[in-house]
Amino acid sequence: MTKHWQAIAQAQGIEIPAAEWDRIAPPLDAVERAFRQLTAGLPSGLEPALGFSAEEGSE
């Protein structure tokens, strides 16, 4: 299933000139197709690899 990128942009209030969509939608479709297969069955306990420490700045 491909996403309707123009509708998503419109819903988010993102304005992109019509002539520019040819450079935007096809690459996004390709990433979307490949990425969607990877996320199937991800365990909820798998934490993102993002760094945040509550101790930050307390040194």
């Binding site: 520019e20 990877l38 996320t39 690899a49 760094g51």
Partner: protein, 462 residues
């Protein structure tokens, strides 16, 4: 080379002023065609060179970079010097403070002669900058220098400077290093401060050196690396001695040669030259171990998605003046704005999984050796390349073997290992475990010492 120049300085055979004047002279003579610089800071550089000479004469020796002319990519801040990021949107941006790497290089006595041209906002691999001119490949002006640190790589290749600093978010140091026939090193994430560097993708951006030789790259990294409390991603791990010894050996080093992915769909000359370098490593006593690597195609997809989202966050404010951004970069920023937050989080979760899978490799091998890019530098303005019988998008092909390493945050070096039949450089990539810069540099230096490399770029003779 830095080490020879440093020796000549200490023997009194030359001065920093002479080296710097020569560098500025070559830039003035050649850079109209090469387009490797956006800003040249001639007077401040000459003044700094005079200071360097006076310090050496007075017995104050700051180390091997003392008095050596270098340059930095024009998204790295130097106090009081225009820092454009290769974009007209930053044409008036003059930072009040210098980047962490610039402070360290200046402490080490390096003489910064200017700011290198780059792909606009570091978001691309051609360095065909519509605003500041297209960088050309000094080996063949009709071919791409790679990017985004194309100006840095081409300036080193043409002998304009002894070393240059670049950044690497999806291969932006290693690709131009491979295409221009120089050494480029992406250190471990957190090894070099990102403070004062225009961000592209916060969790993928790395700062690193480009130089003519492996040991020159090591000298630059040694000066640049270390903890910076003002960079939240900066590591506290000690840097240690990363400069390869003169008689370093790779005897017994376990070099993993991937059986999957990295040798698929290669230009046949790249395949041949890289395999020749690997055979050479074996003749030096290294153990070549065939090994299967995790799903690098999937890792590349995850890296791309994270880059799209993070770059959109970093650069979307510039879209207020969207007509002033090049069409390719504008499209990438717009793509990133449409990535769902949940997908970004899932990508970061997958990243943790792949990191764990990849770390298992290091039980079996000390490093991996792969081609840096599947093909030598393509002709400029060429959108696709023919690889393995298939047409492939040139940008995706250039990043195919390097992008995933940014997701994993691992150190990786590209060193020239031969020429294609068309006389263009081919890069060998060596990847190691996190914070194993010493191993990666040692492997590269041993190969270089034993003759793996390429002749001097013809532009040197001009």
């Amino acid at each position: 080379m830095i080490r020879e120049a440093a020796w000549d300085l200490r023997c009194g055979r030359t001065t920093s002023l002479a080296l710097t004047a020569a560098a500025l002279g070559r830039i003035a003579r050649l850079d109209d065609s090469l387009r490797t610089f956006i800003t040249v800071v001639a007077e401040p550089a000459l003044e700094r060179a005079r200071q360097a000479d006076a310090e050496l004469a007075g017995g104050h020796d700051r180390g091997p970079l003392h008095g050596i002319p270098v340059s930095v990519k024009d998204l790295i801040a130097i106090r009081g010097v225009l820092t454009t990021g290769g974009s007209p949107l930053c044409r008036d941006r003059v930072p009040e403070g210098s980047a962490g790497v610039v402070e360290r290089l200046e402490e080490a006595g390096a003489v910064i002669v200017g700011k290198n041209n780059l792909h606009e906002l570091a978001y691309g691999v051609t360095s065909a900058n519509p605003h500041f001119g297209s960088v050309v490949n000094p080996w063949n002006f009709e071919h791409s220098p790679g990017g985004s640190s194309g100006g840095s790589a081409a300036a080193v290749a043409a002998g304009l400077v002894y070393g240059a600093i670049g950044t690497d978010t999806g291969g932006s140091i290693r690709i131009p290093a491979a295409f221009c026939g120089v050494v480029g090193l992406k250190p471990t994430y957190g090894r070099v401060s990102r403070r004062g560097v225009l961000p592209l993708a916060y969790t993928l951006d790395h700062v690193g050196p480009l130089a003519a030789t492996v040991r020159d790259a090591a000298l630059l990294l040694s000066a640049m690396a270390g903890h910076d409390p003002a960079d939240p991603s900066s590591s506290r791990r000690p840097v240690g001695d990363i400069i390869p010894a003169e008689n370093c050996s790779i005897s017994g080093l376990r070099i993993g040669v991937p059986e999957n992915f990295f040798f698929d769909r290669l230009d046949r000359h790249v395949d041949g030259v890289v395999r020749q370098a690997l055979a050479h490593a074996q003749s030096l006593g290294a153990q070549l171990k065939p090994i299967r690597v995790p799903d690098m195609a999937a890792i590349n997809v995850v890296a791309r998605l994270i880059q799209l989202a993070e770059a959109a966050a970093a650069l979307a404010p510039l879209l207020d003046r969207r007509s002033e951004i090049g069409a390719d970069v504008r499209a990438l920023i717009d793509q990133g704005r449409l990535v769902a937050a949940t997908d970004y989080i899932d990508a970061q979760r997958l990243r943790r999984r792949y990191q764990a899978e990849f770390s298992l490799l290091w039980r079996e091998v000390d490093c991996l050796a792969t081609p840096t890019t599947p093909m030598p530098a393509p002709e400029r303005n060429r959108n696709s390349v023919l690889l393995g019988g298939d047409e492939e998008d040139a940008r995706l092909a250039a990043t195919r073997l390097v992008r995933g390493i940014n997701l994993l945050g691992l150190p990786a070096i590209s060193l020239p290992c031969g020429l294609s039949n068309a006389g263009l450089p081919v890069g060998l990539q060596i990847v190691g475990p996190a914070f194993s810069e010493a191993t990666v540099l040692l492997a590269a230096a041993a190969l270089e010492d034993s003759g793996v490399g390429i002749p001097e770029c013809p532009a040197h003779e001009k």
